[in-house]
Amino acid sequence: MNDDETFTPETIEELIDQHTSSPSSQPTSPQASIIQELQTYYEADQRSAVRMWERLVQQTKLKASDNEIEKPTAGESIMQQMPDSIKNRNSEQENQESLGQMGASSTPMPRRISRRTLVAGLGVGAAALGTAASYVFLTGHPQSSSQAGTAATATATPTTAPTATPKTIAPTGTEPAVRGKLGDILTTYKGQVKTVDARWSPDGSLIASASDDKTVHIWEAANGQEVFVYAKHTDQVNSVDWSPDGRWLASGGGAVLGNVGQRNYSIHVWNTSTGLARKLSGPKDYIHPIRWSPDGKYIAAASNDSKAYVWEAASGRLVRTYTGHTDAVTGLSWSPDSKRIVSCDSRTRVHIWSVATGQKILQYLGHGNNGLVLAIDWSPDGKRIASSAGGAATDAVVNVWNPTNGETLFVYQGHVNNSLGTISSGRSALSASLPFLPAHPASGSGIGVFAVAWSPDNTRIASGGNGLLQIWQPTAQTHSFTFPAIEGAPFIEGVAWSPSGAHLVEATDNHTVVWQSKA
């Protein structure tokens, strides 16, 4: 064997990454051929395992129902063998303990990373917005590990007792009825802290929330009843999303480990009925957010490694790596036709690119040159995009713009004067009198708008920044409502409309709240 055909320990990881990141290309060397064949071989095995398990579950269910007629005890015996995710979570604590033994206790506690940390780091005094500056801040944050430790302790003693009646997680219910008035709290979920993302199931009955404590909780929107806790991530979970049919969840996150700055990430796609999971690979750093395409065929994630990734949902195969950004990708959103993605980065660059070709279609420069673009959402009708910004030198604004030509339609400034110091007093300095301004270069005040979401009917936008959640009407350009601040939650990390648009879920540091969003 030639030396250049030999795998060496020094380069093995990089070589595998290199040849698995673009699997569709023809192998160019013997090493590439071996790696790609192994990848194909094991992927086929994984798909087999999922298929066989689903059939096994189906057949045991059938046998159980057959046996119930003649021999109830035998049927019960078979059902007892079913996975916890079907019977509900009776051994959640055991799962968490085993995970604790496996990873967290034997390795340095992952340091906390979030967009707000990034923004705060810039606000504290990072002179430049480059990757190096933010990296220094992130790895040196003094409170990071203690915060993560608190979160882990909090979930080790769940506040909600496991329910006795087995039930499936797969959402088959309906969205809670409208009750009360706009701004009323429908549900407060306190079973999880440090929640960074929350998403409604397609039928509106369940909410999945992701947390820095390495878990994804699924709970009932109507009453906050915990349904299931997914605790198989080895790092904090930054984002979660349902498949359009509600049968699958994609969740992912990551961390910087220890003092050596080693980057880590984990992305899982798991079946809500069986709990079977598979890992997605590709990124070299933590990801945020992860989003399922509207047609259900693909999963996309933005990564701190300056790339955006697209996987085929059915096979888990990485089908596209978008390399057009030069700095950490901080957000992304699918076009309604699932053919394009808009992604933003920590250099205020926003790109629309084709999923089929990976080519950039348009670059939006409306956020100027300073600060970060923190969140982005494509309107359901595909005609407008809302992108929010923040950072030391940038206003906490939301730009609404045209995806066909990159023209800024207007800038929402309702969060600009809503600084951290005024949060504790509840609703405060809201510039409700004139929140909309013509397009202009940002001038610098406020920390950032971390979450932005279009309502399903395109008529409203919800945006959260610095502790206050607001809704406004992009067509009429009028501010509609500011929700009361949540005690002890200075940052809003995620916001999502329910399928009907009648409710909003808000993910914060402290707990997660479902608001009534219609009068």
Binding site: M1, T8, I34, L38, S48, Q81, P83, M102, N264
Partner: protein, 188 residues
């Protein structure tokens, strides 16, 4: 160790069946494919074996040790394969030409393409089966579960360097097997 690995990476429910499945399903699939090359047929048999495990004396096999479980499952799998051969012997054959108009609308589903794919993976299955068990574990964790070398090291309580060395050796061995096979084919 195996149990904790399986809990961490896949098929992750904490029930006897789920644990047993996570531990043994894929090794059992590989075992059956020694006798039944078709992946689809092998999947059928794996499901049948686990159903048999559930029904056997009140699912008592789940109380056995991991090694005993695998032994039991392999024995049942072996007899399932034998049964399958017997059934095939009794099946009547129908000329393919009678139905060729309706079959394989997609070329990739045609018998020639399927056979080629099976042949491509046959050497890999053979090569993997010749590797030491811990090499196979590391390859599976890296390629099937997408773990980094450092993560595999944490799970197996080995250093990152040791995992990199093992991974390199495993891949070099497979590369050598592949090279020899190519040479043999060229000689033929």
């Amino acid at each position: 160790m195996q149990q904790r690995l399986s809990q961490s990476v896949s098929h992750s429910d904490d029930t006897p069946l789920a644990r047993c499945y996570a531990l043994h399903a894929i090794p059992l699939l590989a075992y059956i494919r020694q006798y039944v090359p078709s992946r689809e047929d092998a999947e059928d048999l794996v499901v049948e074996v686990f159903i048999a495990a559930l029904e056997h004396k009140g699912a008592s096999i789940f109380a056995l040790s991991e090694r005993e479980q695998l032994g039991w499952l392999r024995r049942v799998a072996y007899y399932k394969c034998v049964d399958r051969y017997r059934r095939l012997a009794h099946q009547s054959t129908v000329p393919l030409e009678d139905h060729v108009q309706n079959l394989f609308e997609e070329e990739r589903l045609g018998p020639e393409q399927v056979t080629l794919r099976h042949e491509e993976q046959a050497w890999l299955r053979l090569g993997l089966s010749q590797l030491p068990e811990h090499y196979q574990t590391i390859l599976r964790l890296r390629f099937a579960n997408g773990l980094r070398c450092s993560e595999i090291g944490r799970l197996l309580k080995k250093s990152d360097g040791a995992i990199r060395v093992a991974l390199s050796r495993a891949l070099n061995t497979l590369r050598e097997i592949s090279r020899k096979q190519s040479e043999e084919q060229n000689d033929e």
